[in-house]
């Protein structure tokens, strides 16, 4: 029989997280700090609105781009939160931020186009670029820069084939953010080299100290920026699979074709629920943000006491401590921690080569759960130091 598989797909690396997941699932009594989604339930009023929409029989497709009412609310929200000005025709409602990333790549890339990706990063960026025919060019962010992207790093890798820069701040897995001052040189660079910026801002509601700034809000940046965002993290709605892409209409018009042919439209129930989230859930969002911040402080402090080096993350719900001093790879460390103390923490190497030597610790857990896990981690480390 002949080989039915696509060479490109076969050559894709399976996600490093998947590998780790398979090991953890064999261990039912392990406690986990490995989850990349909120521990909060979706606010009840949002769930209730979803139920109501089902009762009312709103079970049909919406328009391809998504409910007009929802797209309008997204515009209002983006403007009031991040001073991004879009109209409803510049928004496509997607099946999670993940689809947004995929259709963005398919819409803008020609074969051989290079996309600069700042790593460590979420696992899907590189495969999406590759599958769209593009070539990912990785820039390794450094801990001494607090895992922020620097203009000099872009200068080192830019070629005449470079088409776009991909950034995602607040960042999964490092918890790093980019302030207005940090983003300005990146925006300048993009303009000078005539590049597109693709900015995954799914954690935009979760910053601690300073408010999130979107590079798309900078002067003359709207026409060269695509913003991907969604409901998963801000409103604790991961399972609803709802996100959106905002960009200049020349691009969005073409992107709509891709979305239309592969997805048709995002889930209707989720879209109705999302309108409720955008309109009435500021308090719930703030409450979750406050709780994450308290846990963040708790973890940073605990790691300091344990002697685990880490820079202070200012966004998302991750801390990225260094385990380099133990002389193990992060995968070895994570595997031994799991076997010896039954705590699951994702090795940093799952998020790119430069994540080697780090762990991604999620604090989407209650203080009580964090306490228990930290106790075990501490025992493990003390054992190593002996």
């Amino acid at each position: 029989m002949r080989d039915f598989l696509s060479k490109q797909v076969v050559e894709l690396e399976p996600s490093g997280i998947r590998k780790f997941f398979d090991i953890v699932s064999e261990m039912p009594d392990a406690i986990s700090l490995g989850v990349g989604e909120p521990d909060f339930d979706t606010p009840w009023r949002v769930r209730e609105e979803g139920i109501y929409s089902l009762e009312k029989g709103r079970t049909f497709y919406t328009s391809n781009a998504g409910l007009k009412e929802l797209r309008r609310e997204i515009c209002v929200y983006l403007d009031r939160k991040y001073q991004l000005s879009y109209n409803e025709n510049e928004i496509i409602v997607t099946v999670g931020g993940s689809e947004g990333i995929d259709i963005t790549m398919r819409t803008v890339l020609n074969p051989g186009d290079e996309v600069i990706v700042a790593q460590p990063s979420f696992v899907s960026y590189l495969p999406c670029i590759t599958m769209a025919g593009g070539v990912p060019v990785v820039v390794n962010l450094k801990e001494e820069d607090k895992f922020k992207l620097k203009r000099e790093q872009l200068e080192e890798v830019v070629t005449d084939k470079t088409k776009a820069i991909f950034i995602s701040f607040p960042n999964n897995p490092t918890g790093a953010i980019m302030t207005r001052e940090d983003l300005e040189p990146i925006a300048e660079f993009a303009k000078e080299h005539d590049l597109l910026v693709i900015s995954d801002e799914i954690y935009s509601e979760l910053t601690y100290g300073t408010k999130h700034v979107s590079i798309g809000s900078f002067p003359e940046m709207k026409e060269r920026t695509i913003v991907v965002n969604g409901f998963s993290k801000a409103f604790a709605m991961t399972g609803w699979r709802l996100g959106y892409v905002a960009g200049p209409s020349v691009i969005m018009k073409q992107m709509l074709k891709v979305h239309q042919y592969v997805i048709m439209a995002a889930p209707t129930t989720s879209q109705y629920a999302a309108i409720e989230a955008l309109r009435y859930c500021d308090d719930e969002v703030e409450e979750m943000q406050i709780a994450y911040n308290q846990r963040r402080r708790y973890l940073v402090h605990a790691f300091e006491k344990m002697g685990l080096d880490c820079f202070e993350p200012e966004g998302a719900f991750y801390i990225f401590p260094s385990i380099k001093k133990f002389g193990m790879t992060s995968e070895e460390f994570a595997t031994r921690l799991l076997n010896e103390q039954k705590v699951a923490i994702v090795p940093g190497s799952a998020f790119g080569e430069c994540g080697e030597g780090y762990l991604r610790v999620s604090y989407a857990y209650s203080i009580e759960e964090l306490k228990e896990a930290l106790g075990r981690l501490n025992t493990f480390i003390k054992g190593l130091e002996k």
Binding site: I17, F20, V35, D39, F122, V123, Y298, I367
Partner: protein
């Protein structure tokens, strides 16, 4: 007095009064001494009135019944409702007394072992009070949620153990 700090402390210990001072200090990014002082002050000022435990007595072998009693009264000249409330809330069986707007004046929460015990209390202590005009007793059949907490089942983490 830092109202914002007070509120943050209260919000945290309202949900979990067993958080220790050290953890509170870290979570709120202030010194342990500051937390301790603020809490001590609030205890003195009776902003913090006690530290209780939320118990679902249904799951124990203890017989316990809660009743809510609507009480209509005639306010006394010069004393208003407060004096009558005091007469009522001093009974240890009474767990809560609220002054209400609307069709009646007080909502009185009572706890007792049996229906008989509670009716006896109402007829022998509450109803005969001089200013009480009438009482209507409602028995609680099931408590679903109390103090913002759903009693039925403990929340279990249904997330996958590791996700990107």
């Amino acid at each position: 007095m830092n109202m914002e700090l007070r509120e943050s402390i209260l919000k945290l210990i309202e949900k979990n009064s067993r958080l220790d001072l050290k953890d509170l200090a870290i979570m709120l990014d202030i010194s342990e001494a500051d937390v301790a002082n603020e809490i001590a002050d609030m205890e003195k000022e009776h902003v913090i009135c006690g530290y209780h435990t939320l118990i679902d007595w249904e799951k124990t072998s203890k017989d316990q019944l809660t009743a809510m009693i609507e009480v209509k009264v005639t306010p006394q000249r010069g004393q208003g409702f407060d004096m009558i409330a005091e007469r009522i809330y001093n009974f240890p069986e009474v767990k809560a007394v609220y002054l209400m707007s609307g069709g009646y004046d007080f909502m009185v929460m009572l706890e007792g072992k049996t229906m008989k015990e509670i009716s006896l209390f109402t007829s022998s202590k509450l109803a005969p009070l001089e200013s009480v005009v009438s009482t209507v007793t409602h028995f609680v059949l099931k408590k679903y949620k109390d103090h913002g907490t759903i009693l039925e089942a403990k929340k279990v983490d249904k997330r996958q153990v590791v996700t990107p």
